[in-house]
């Protein structure tokens, strides 16, 4: 078992898959010689060459659209958007084409591909390098959306995404890239897409989260246990679409109280979907209002560190929200 950070785990996943399956290729801006602006693809170009780790022009639409063509042809492309903030020019291809191809062709064409994107704030990236824009994609039928919270999960889920017959949007929280190292099982461990994980058991309330919020929620849970004697159950969703309703509802049935946490803004955020599902399907089990803790209603993370701190959801905020809910 090795100790890897998020970035290393992601890189290893791609390396192993490219070695295993010669249909897998990477394309994106700066992914080749430079190894990616975060270093996610470092070493891959030297190992696999120009045609499998392709430096593209500065053209997001082309990256997504050509990836779809390649996938239709029979390859397994991993397209990288340098930042989730820059995916919008590719939106037409992703939503109009990639998500619909299988359905519109009555199942005769499909696009087995991955689009990897660094997302999230807390790195002084301001409005255009910090966005959490997962909901544009979670609400698009035909896509799968994954957001791992640990290096082990990232590696196992990226492998699954690469092998998946459908298009997968793979969200990597950039603050977690080098934040910490954790154990990553060696070998071909693959996690199923669409399964959440109860990472901490508890009985007083359930905290649903993903990505960087998993780390924050676990820290908050420790504080709650230590200071309040409140045992919070932390559920890492891991996949946003399709959502693991079973695990979510089972947790609510157990604790009766649900707190959904995400960095993206609250209105129309992913928490709304989780909350509505819980309210509809686990009403008889509710012992308190289904609550969301989310980012503020501003169009992005402001730059100055005071403003960024104001914006970011953190363990202290999660503790406060959990305390209130637990006391209801």
């Amino acid at each position: 078992m090795a100790e890897l950070n998020m970035l290393e785990a992601i890189r290893l996943a791609m390396d192993e898959e490219m070695e295993r399956d010669e249909r897998v290729m990477v394309l994106g801006e700066d992914v080749g010689k430079k190894g990616g602006v975060f270093g996610a693809t470092e070493g891959l170009w030297a190992k696999y060459g120009d045609k499998r780790v392709l430096d593209t022009p500065l053209t997001e639409a082309m990256i997504a659209g050509a990836a779809m063509g390649a996938a239709v042809y029979g390859l397994r492309p991993i397209a990288e958007m340098q930042f989730a903030d820059f995916v919008y020019p590719a939106f037409n291809q992703i939503v109009s084409e990639i998500s619909r191809l299988h359905y519109r062709s009555n199942g005769t064409f499909s696009a087995p591909m991955v689009i990897r994107m660094p997302y999230g704030g807390g790195v002084h990236g301001a409005l255009y390098h910090s966005q959490s824009n997962e909901t544009y994609f979670t609400s698009t039928v035909g896509l799968k959306v994954v957001a791992p919270g640990t290096p082990a999960d990232a590696k196992a889920l990226l492998k699954a995404a690469i092998r998946d017959p459908d298009p997968v949007m793979f969200f990597e929280h950039k603050k977690t890239y080098r934040l910490w190292k954790a154990e990553v099982p060696a070998g071909d461990t693959v996690l199923p897409i669409g399964k959440a994980s109860v990472v901490r058991e508890g009985k007083h309330l359930s905290i649903f989260c993903y990505g960087f919020m998993r780390t924050c929620a676990l820290e908050a849970a420790e504080t709650l246990a230590r200071e309040d004697g409140v045992e919070a159950e932390v559920v890492d969703l891991r996949t946003l679409r399709p959502l693991d309703h079973e695990t979510v509802l089972a947790s609510v049935a157990k604790t009766g109280k649900a707190l959904v946490v995400h960095e993206a803004n609250r209105f129309g955020g992913f928490g709304a979907e989780v909350a509505a599902t819980i309210a509809e399907k686990a009403f008889e089990h509710l012992d308190g209002p289904v609550t969301r803790l989310a980012g503020p209603e501003v169009p992005g993370v402001p730059f100055h560190h005071t403003l960024e701190d104001w914006f970011m959801v953190n363990p202290a905020r999660i503790v406060a929200a959990a305390r209130e809910l637990a006391a209801y």
């Binding site: 009403f283 008889e284 089990h285 509710l286 012992d287 308190g288 209801y328």
Partner: protein, 497 residues
Amino acid sequence: MPTTIKMPQLGESVTEGTIERWLVKEGDTVEQYDPLFEVVTDKVNAEVPAEVAGTVSKILVPDGETVAVGTPVAEIDEGAGEASASDTQAAEAEAPPAEAEAPAQAEPAEAEEPAEPAAEAGPAAVEQQEAAPEPMPEAPAETPSGTADDSDEGGAASNGDGGTGTARMTPAVRRLVREHGIDVTQLRGTGAGGRVTRDDVLGFIEKGSSAAAEEAPKAAEAAPAPPAEAPAAAPATTPAPAAQAAAPAPTPAPASVPTPSGGDTEVALSQMRKGIARKMTQVKQTVPHAYTVIEVDMTRVVNWREANNADYKAREGASLSYVAVVVKAVTETLRKHPTLNSQFADDKIILKQAMNIGIAVAVDNGLIVPVIANADQLSISGVNARIRDISTRANAGKLRLDELTGGTFTVNNTGWFGSVISMPIVNAPEVAILSMEAIVKRPAVIEADGADVIAIRHMMNMACSFDHRVLDGAQVGFFLADVRKVLEEWDPGTSIG
């Protein structure tokens, strides 16, 4: 049969067309796809071709007139010639002539069908709508004056008084209350804003005390002016009627209620006792009970237990209970008889997938039935440990909420106080309950070497009470027979686990 030609829809969102001019006249013969007339719409002008070949028998709409899409404009009598697409045409062309006359008026006529002429359709519909919502959110039976809806308002509930049934309760708490047949007027809310919490309900279930009982009549007397929302002012002035009137279940008052006299002693009812009284009455009134008893030769089990108990006790610190063995035998057998592990839901039977076995535990002055969840997934040792654990905690009043709900079948150890036959009451919403009676040494006839002999055997009766809406005697009998088989053929090498 003539084919009707209708005004086609010549573009998305086009709703009507004007016949510019007819290119044929009545009596003309046309081939399929010959042009019939010119149409002007707000998007396109076009020639409309004939769908079928034949003779133009009727022109229904003259030059210059505008009609809605779908309106019949002509009829073509098909000749014996090309009938290629006319079959499908004929199927579609069943437009009754009446449509052509007043298409605009046809719609309200259809809408009126169930009601009166158009003019009155409006008010009638409104009336129906108003009539529809009957007293919708029906107050749960427990609340005396149907004021459960007020429970969210806070108001008088702010002092945590569940006594008038106006305390706030979350759905989870309400469900708990419902499942245990609790009288909400007896609940005290200690949560924020006077909310009745799960702990409050738990405490109420487990702790029965005369102190609480004394409080009840006191509170009843001391609450002469409950909040205006409670019209029925259930808590009256005298203790006995108060206890009775407070009982919300639709139980008709007994014909004559005994009163103490002479040297009689009155014992006030604890919360638990009241709960038991209520629940047992309700179950007996709604569930038609039937009973079956069989004998089980427990000798092999007894021998096995005797052989293993010393080691087990040394290892675990407690003896191996026969209840654990019976529970295991029951869970194994229930898989083959899922109807005994079910619930009756008026128009259907719900076969429960989980096997949550309730163990009836006698506590001070009462009875509790904590549940071993997923008992089928535990080993005998596991079940034994759970039984010990919940019995201990039941007596200490330390059971958890989730241990008191969700049961699917109950095992009742009446044997420990010597009973050899009992007729327990089904633990609704379950449909069956099994009593294991005392294990008694008795002479019994057994077969040895092909001959009948009398031997001393350890015999135990098992009595099963069941809900006859769901189960029949034979079913239950077969179930019991299978349980017996497991026990009578007990493998001496069975591991305790």
